[in-house]
């Protein structure tokens, strides 16, 4: 029997990592909802955002144990930079990997290959940033940003990590709380944006029926760009929350996380924003609960994939079904 505190511990930490999956999964879900395509390059959008945050803090000279207001300010700047970088990269991906193919009505598989190509490039360019800086002759100036490009780069979180709640061996730390609350707030804001704003209506219209939407005067190209941008912004936010939880990043950090996030999106019902939230949280919990039945941590991916298969067999469109168009219940 596991003690209750362990169970609570697993539940809470599962929700924390699950919240990150959820936020990351939005990019997959939104693009799929609108274009019916798997955006394979989304993992690199996340990775670039994480570097945006790391670089911003390095530039601003972040260190541990700063005063509260300064630390919060720094973290917000990092958040904005990460979201801007991720959003920008997402738009670049849309431009170089998708637009031409969409205009030509190419089959979805070709778009997938195009995205895989873009993903390889984006990840390797980050992994080679020291070499590239060397070519341009800036490796001296940029040393703190580019050195040891294949290794982990540390994110110096200026906020102290204090215990918020402690009950009988079960503890909640401030960093965990920030991640969980931050992710859920972002998701609610996005859900409201898509279901209430004019632009959000456009996104839903296109995902429901692109042709009808076009006839009704929705600018499809703009909607697609907006979709990529929102997905990117959310990935940037996810990257900062991830770094608060796990304070290092590297050029290939997106790959495994991307697969998890994509699994979460499908689990919840791809194309559905609330589905991404549910899918991410469920995935995070299941991964942690695998420990309860005595499985080693290395089996957790097997458990989550088996869960996915079972869910898809009984609910072929995921837990909440796929309906970005009908997001407003």
């Amino acid at each position: 029997m596991v003690p209750l505190s362990t169970f609570l511990d697993l539940t809470f930490t599962g929700l924390v990592i699950g919240a990150i999956y959820s936020l990351f999964a939005l990019g997959y879900t939104l693009v799929y909802g609108v274009l019916r395509l798997i955006n394979f390059a989304h993992s690199e959008v996340f990775m670039w955002g994480s570097f945006g945050a790391v670089w911003a803090l390095t530039f601003l000279g972040s260190r541990q144990g700063m005063a509260w207001p300064a630390a919060v300010g720094l973290l917000l700047v990092a958040l904005v930079v990460a979201m801007a970088v991720s959003g920008g990269v997402a738009l670049v991906v849309e431009r170089i990997a998708y637009r031409r193919l969409r205009e030509k009505n190419a089959p979805p598989l070709v778009a997938l290959i195009s995205a895989i190509g873009a993903s390889f490039m984006l990840s390797e360019l980050m992994g080679l940033r020291d070499r590239i800086a060397g070519w341009v002759g800036l490796d001296g100036v940029l040393a703190p940003y580019v050195r040891q490009a294949r290794e982990n780069t540390a994110f110096v979180n200026p906020l102290p990590n204090v215990t918020v709640l402690s009950v009988g061996g079960f503890e909640i730390r401030s960093n965990q709380l920030i991640v969980l609350v931050g992710a859920i707030v972002m998701m609610i804001a996005l859900d409201q944006f898509v279901s209430r704003s004019r632009l959000g209506r456009g996104v839903r219209a296109v995902s429901q029926d692109p042709e009808a939407a076009a006839l009704m005067g929705v600018n499809q190209k703009q909607v697609v760009q907006l979709t990529f941008l929102i997905g990117g912004l959310m990935a940037g936010a996810a990257a900062v929350l991830y770094l608060i939880h796990i304070p290092v990043t590297r050029y290939n950090v997106g790959f495994i996380l991307g697969i998890k996030a994509f699994t979460a999106a499908v689990l919840g019902g791809i194309g559905n924003i609330r589905g991404a939230l549910v899918g991410g949280l469920v995935l995070g919990l299941v991964e942690n609960y695998a420990t309860l039945v005595g499985l080693a941590s290395s089996w957790k991916d097997v458990v989550s994939f088996l869960l996915l298969v079972v869910v898809l067999l009984f609910r072929p469109t995921g837990i909440l079904g796929e309906s970005l168009g009908k997001a407003r219940a």
């Binding site: 596991v2 003690p3 505190s5 362990t6 511990d9 697993l10 930490t13 599962g14 924390v16 990592i17 541990q64 040891q148 294949r150 290794e151 982990n152 780069t153 540390a154 110096v156 990590n161 215990t163 061996g169 503890e171 730390r173 960093n175 939880h245 796990i246 304070p247 290092v248 290939n252 950090v253 495994i256 996380l257 991964e287 942690n288 695998a290 420990t291 080693a296 941590s297 290395s298 957790k300 991916d301």
Partner: protein, 390 residues
Amino acid sequence: MRSIVKLAAPAAAAALLLAACGTTGGDETSSGSASGSSGGDCPEGISIGFFGALTGPNANLGVNINNGVKLAVDQHNAESGACQVALKPFDSQGDQNQAQGQAQQAVGDSDVVGIVGPAFSGESKVADPILAEAGLVGITPSATNPALAENGWKTFFRVLGNDATQGPAAATFITDTLGKQKVYVVDDSSEYGKGLADLVREDLGSADIKDNTIQTGQTDFSAVVADIRASGADAVFFGGYYSEAGLLLKQMRDAGLSSDQVAFISDDGAKDEGLITAAGVEAANGAYVTCPCLPPDQAEGSFVEDYTAAYGTAPATYSAEGYDAATILLDGIAEGNVTREDLLSYVASYDQPGVTKQLKFDDQGEPSAVSVWSYKIEDGQIVADQEIGS
């Protein structure tokens, strides 16, 4: 073709080193007409190879080793009247499929008389039989799987202790020196990490209260940390590499398992600055790593200074072993052993002090003098602690 100016003064040699690593390197054309200082002949284009991952996901380890090898080659070539030796890269990306092609390439290249590598145990299983069949000596700086030496490959040598020396020493260190009796053993399911952790588990006996396995590349260890806490362990041993070790350590400390309560001990794969990068200076404080290698101040020569001057960073995991392995081959060439056959028998009877240990091999190619040390992390530095076994 006499294009390379030979420099005698050590200061000038150091300057040459710096220049050499500023450019690409690896393809220095040697002017082989030099008459070797110790009288032997010196064929044009004579080369040693580095076999390991220079690109791809495991490149970080391979590049560290290659830097050590390159330093040794550059120093050798800069010596006055030295037989100019080229360094050829055999980049396997740590992948077995590529390892086969690269091993066949190395074997087919008659300029190559010796190999530093293969770097990893997995690729060694593919490449070493090929080297053995062709009689091409391969000194591995980093493949620690004990079983590799038991295949009867006459060309197999390694300059570091295998897991079977480190495992028991680490277990004794944890139970006797640190006095911990409830150890939680985690491995990263890699051949190296799992192999070593299994040996530690065996030697800990009843002091090993619980096991867990993670995946390489995993970053979130909250379930493991929760389990460690629930198990009431007073020490954690991690078998694996620095990235996962650092993140696990960080998450343990974040969850309130302080270093007084739960000691953290890892292995030579974690003895790298990357451990501190991943864990952060604060969380890394007080952690231990064991390593079958001598602390730098015990070693002769100026390896650490030279390496730092050449690459701008301190030697990383296995850089020193790479340097040692290359030095053995280069010494052999300097003494006129310029065929594969001669060099192989030279290596088998080698007995000289190296940077990491006394370099001497037993008949299986294992180093015969290995001392295992523990290192402690203090204020972001990995400092030597004590000798824990030999």
